[in-house]
Amino acid sequence: MNKTALHCSLATLVVAMVVAPMAAADTLRAVPVDATGPFNDPEAAFWEEAPTVTVRLNPQQVTRPHHADIAVTELTVRAVNNGTWLGILIEWEDDTRDDWFLTDAFGDQVAVQFPVEGPASPMMGNPGGKVNILQWRAAFQRDLVDGEPDIRDLYPYALVDVYPDEVLRVTDARAFAGAMGVDNPVARPFESPVLEQMAEGWGSLTVKPMQHADGWGVWEDGTWRVAITRPANQVMPGDPDLSPGTDTLAAFAVWDGGNREVGGRKSWSSWIDLKVEE
């Protein structure tokens, strides 16, 4: 990046931080519903009680790499709460269901982000401006349905004689298990397709040691419909306050795996106002 580009990027960031809430869409109202949480069913009837908000998305172009040619430019969002749980339903058009990883195959994902501390940038926060990020990942949901793939699920004719974990003690075999052996959060199994994380700027995304979020997605007729839910009240330090009566913010990001969107190659929104109604 040359200096001019760097200055442009910083300027974009500052402008986005200052004007984003004002430039955002309608307020997202998390309406109270008479239902039991967690709200992880995207096809539940109570979502109909919540008004929809259209969220515009732009390509991430503040830090490299960029992917100017993003696939998703608009989301439809609804929110509900029951005093204990907050639920968000996100819908977008996507012609292909991408829930598989190979060298050249990327998975569909969506994330919602809430501010935790300080005036935080909508772009994954900033140093001193912490955000809470709940990320739903299609491939990890597929694992929960079909089991985690082994090599013959990915390549039916793969030749295997013996794996270290079949002949060594567990502690000795860990060294041969790569990311799995060090409990990498994209390698190890989770009980939910939604990963709860925090960030203080790009490159700082960190999985929280205690996971409280949940969710589920359904792909049908070229549309993803994904529910993401988390406790409304602060359970742990670093949790966002989403209790009834709170006015806060939310921002969104989507990755279309079929368009090779991953990491910083994504579409994202500015902050929109989120009102958790009593």
Binding site: M1, A68, F101, D104, D150, I151, N184
Partner: protein, 375 residues
């Protein structure tokens, strides 16, 4: 973007990070004239490091036949094609590096191979550049050619994988310059797979993160050369440390062969990564091809190599290849031997400059047999 000095290009260039060189730099020299593509190195690496789940097809070390062998398929011609024709003539590179040629929004010019590209590690094996007329094999030199190119991670001074990673999951160790990918921090974005022009970062579809050659760092920390080096039956490799360009020592065999005798050439230096594996070019391949692959100076390198028998220092350094599992930091030709020393100048190996010849009588009277020279 910083300005860093790339000695292989003889000029400064743009790089996303400050140009801090490690205390020592892992390096390797391959004599392509001696490689027979037996793949013992490949198997040694495979059995040592990539026997786990998701690594079934993964070869951190591979040997491919040039010009038609590639792992992954077409890796070098693909990036050369994207890079376009560049001006390359010493002593200063006039073309653009892959960092300087990066398109808008990218750190480095690269591409993501198709998954299937990794499925043919033996493609083009032993294929020549063309067929020969009947009887042409009897004339020399042959008009058709091929050679073997053994490859590992280059542990570049300016790694593209490292700079492309948005999470800084890849780091270069200050103590030995080995480039490692943090298996805990990586999120499997594959920017490194896209960015590395040598395609030596590989995606593990089971763990869903990327992996790469680790330079056998546990061996290196114990002053032992890499598995691929010490198992090489053709003794074509020497692994050690190359000094910083302003601290070259003529008694370090790596420095001597690369900076002194200048017979070890970097792989595609025009990419601008300052790779730290070096090749003695094949003597029978057209220089146009070799200049593209190893940069300027290949003709001189071949000329020097061919006259190694006249230069005791050069011959001595080359006799250290495959002579000991230990890393040689210093060497000296003394009388009829070349001696290799470790970092504390203790002798680790002594190789005769000329193989001793043992004469054996043709008739063994004890056993009453005639010994013939049959193998």
């Amino acid at each position: 973007m910083s300005r860093v000095y790339n000695w292989q290009l003889g000029r400064e260039m743009d790089y996303p990070f400050e140009g801090v060189r490690p205390e020592k730099q892992f390096a390797m020299i391959f004599d392509t004239n001696k490689c027979i593509a037996c793949q013992t190195c490949t198997v040694a690496c495979k059995t040592t490091w990539t026997s786990g789940r998701g690594q079934e097809q993964m070869l951190w070390n591979n040997v491919e036949t040039k010009p038609y062998g590639y792992y992954p398929l077409g890796w070098d011609v693909n990036i050369l094609d994207k890079h376009g024709v560049q001006e390359m003539d010493g002593p200063e590179y006039q073309g653009r590096t892959l960092f300087e040629a990066a398109p808008d929004g990218e750190i480095v010019l690269g591409y993501t191979p198709d998954d299937e590209d990794w499925a043919y590690p033996n493609i083009g094996e032993d294929d020549c550049t063309g067929s020969m007329e009947q009887g042409a094999l009897l004339t020399m030199p042959h008009m058709q050619w091929m050679y073997y190119l053994p490859r590992i991670c280059n542990h570049c001074t300016y790694p593209a994988c490292l700079s492309a990673c948005p999470r800084q999951s890849i780091y270069k160790r200050p103590e030995d310059g080995i480039v490692l990918l943090d298996q805990q921090r990586c999120r499997g974005y594959r920017e490194c797979v896209k960015g590395c022009p040598y395609k030596k970062v590989m995606f593990n579809p089971v763990t869903r993160v990327s992996e790469k050659c680790i330079g056998c760092y546990p061996a290196i920390e114990n002053n032992r050369q890499t598995q691929c080096t010490i198992t090489c039956i053709g003794k074509i490799r020497l692994q050690g440390f190359i000094s910083r360009p302003d601290e070259i020592r003529e008694d370090n065999p790596m420095d001597y062969l690369i900076h002194g005798a200048k017979i070890g050439k970097p792989l595609y230096p025009q990419f601008g990564l300052e790779p730290n594996t070096f090749y003695i070019p094949p003597i029978h391949v057209p220089p146009q091809y070799l200049r593209q692959m190893f940069g300027w100076g290949v003709e001189d390198a071949i000329d020097t190599y061919k006259r190694a028998s006249e230069d005791p220092q050069l011959l001595g350094a080359m006799l250290l290849f495959g002579a000991t599992p230990e890393i040689i930091h210093h060497f000296k030709v003394e009388g009829r031997n070349v001696i290799g020393y470790d970092a504390k100048r203790a002798e680790v190996v002594r190789v005769p400059m000329r193989e001793p010849i043992y004469m054996r009588v043709e008739y063994d009277s004890d056993l009453d047999v005639h010994r013939t020279n049959v193998t």
